[in-house]
């Protein structure tokens, strides 16, 4: 299982990079993509995002999340890729894929991974607006 794919990617994430989780024994594959939206949560027009990461600790966090998902949900294969740097609206900022023999474990593991990533991975996001100064936005 050591061959899961965990990556920080400069620029937009290519969503296919997480497809490697599927194989002949793991037929249920759930993929989450976080795509840069043109609206912020408070409705302001967004023109882009910038991501920053404390790189090594972030990758270590991805690894810890994958191990925890396996302990909780059994035989699941996971891949996580997160963008760093400048992104435009429509770009993929994060891709998480989980594969399992059946869909329940794949859904649970994929959801667990993105929830935990957003809760604790040392990554930060700055929203660039059509009007006004850019602002760092936390997940809290």
């Amino acid at each position: 299982m050591a061959d899961e794919f965990l990556a920080l990617v400069r620029g937009p994430v290519d969503p296919r990079c997480v497809d490697c989780v599927a194989n002949d024994a793991h037929g249920g594959v759930v993929t989450f993509l976080g795509v840069v939206r043109d609206r912020s949560d408070d409705g302001r027009a967004v023109v882009g995002l910038t991501y920053e990461a404390y790189e090594e600790p972030a990758l270590r966090e991805f690894g810890a999340i994958v191990s925890e998902a396996r302990r909780r949900f059994g035989d699941v294969r996971l891949a996580i890729a997160h963008a760093i740097g400048e992104l435009e609206v429509g770009d993929v900022a994060v891709a998480v894929a989980a594969a399992a023999a059946h869909r329940a474990a794949a859904f649970d593991a994929c959801r667990y991974a993105i929830d935990e990533l957003k809760r604790r991975a040392p990554i930060w996001k700055k929203e660039l607006y059509a009007v006004g100064d850019a602002r760092w936005k936390s997940n809290e």
């Binding site: 404390y54 957003k118 991975a121 040392p122 990554i123 930060w124 700055k126 936390s138 997940n139």
Partner: protein, 81 residues
């Protein structure tokens, strides 16, 4: 002794470009490093309650002792995904 200091997101913008490292007495704790940082960059004070401090990439308690060459990282609330 000397410890490197890095910060992220808004804290990086507050810290830059003035500060890259910190001179501290031998055996200083994380808490003492923070007090020194606040003295040098008062704007940091407002963020104390929401930020976390990592030592060599791992979250550190304020009573953790530092050694020469350590890396301290100031981590604001995360915003990944």
């Amino acid at each position: 002794m000397n410890v490197r200091v890095i910060a992220f997101a808004n804290l990086r913008e507050i810290l830059e470009p003035s500060l890259r490292s910190l001179d501290l007495p031998q055996g200083a704790l994380v808490a003492e490093a923070w007090t020194e940082l606040e003295r040098l960059v008062p704007a940091l004070r407002a963020h104390r309650s929401s930020l976390r401090i990592a030592r060599n990439g791992r979250i550190a308690g304020s009573d953790e002792p530092l050694v020469d060459g350590d890396e301290l990282a100031l981590l604001p609330p995360v915003g990944g995904g």
